[in-house]
Symmetry: C2
Subunit: 95 residues, 2 copies
DNA sequence: TCATCATATTCGATATTCCGCATATGCGTC
DNA sequence: GACGCATATGCGGAATATCGAATATGATGA
């Protein structure tokens, strides 16, 4: 839990995780482009998410494809879902 | 959400919040004693929890009584509940 | 083999967090 | 007002997090 909470308390990591939360694979280059951050920064943040067990990666030719960890225990999934749901409500209030 | 996640990603703050999550009032001296931390440390962590909107405080003679914020939006309550539930499972596995 | 693309990592600098110690503040009692 | 108790805060230092720039690694394809 500690590693997970530390991981998602950084905005870029939380944004990246939200993208990966769709269950599909996304390469680092795509995440960089969407989030507008540098390559080393993106790579390091993905490493943190991986070490927290939130995502898994796979080498595919010159790309590394990240995706949401399908084996994440349900209790942790519930936390992440709750965080994204709360943030979605925040966005509604802004809009 | 950012303030809440930062607040609960510190172990002492999370422990204090779990104590307050019972809905009752607890003074700083009690939290210090239970968690085994110094006074200034406890006080500062409580300030962080308060600024995140997770707890409220009340002056009662020489004590300050903290309690869980009863007006915390439901979406945030769900996050906290999920975190504590996940940690409870972790403890089970240890035991 | 060489060039290139995607990604990871090292390095050094900066920013932030967290702490203990000391001190200030607020409240009750004498 | 002086004292004691509970809490908050200012200060300086230690530890940690984060970053960009440069470089390393690994894969592809001419």
């Amino acid at each position: 839990m500690q590693a997970i909470l530390s991981a998602i308390s950084e905005p870029v990591r939380r944004d990246a995780l939200r993208i990966l939360w769709d269950g599909q694979e996304h390469c680092v280059c795509e995440l960089m482009a969407i989030l507008g951050v540098t390559q080393s920064r993106m790579s390091r943040h993905m490493k943190t998410l991986k070490q927290a067990g939130l995502v898994v990666d796979r080498r595919d030719a010159q790309w590394v494809r990240y995706r949401r960890n399908p084996d994440l225990p349900a209790a942790y999934e519930t936390v992440i879902d709750a965080v994204f749901a709360a943030e979605a409500l925040e966005q509604e209030h802004v809009a």
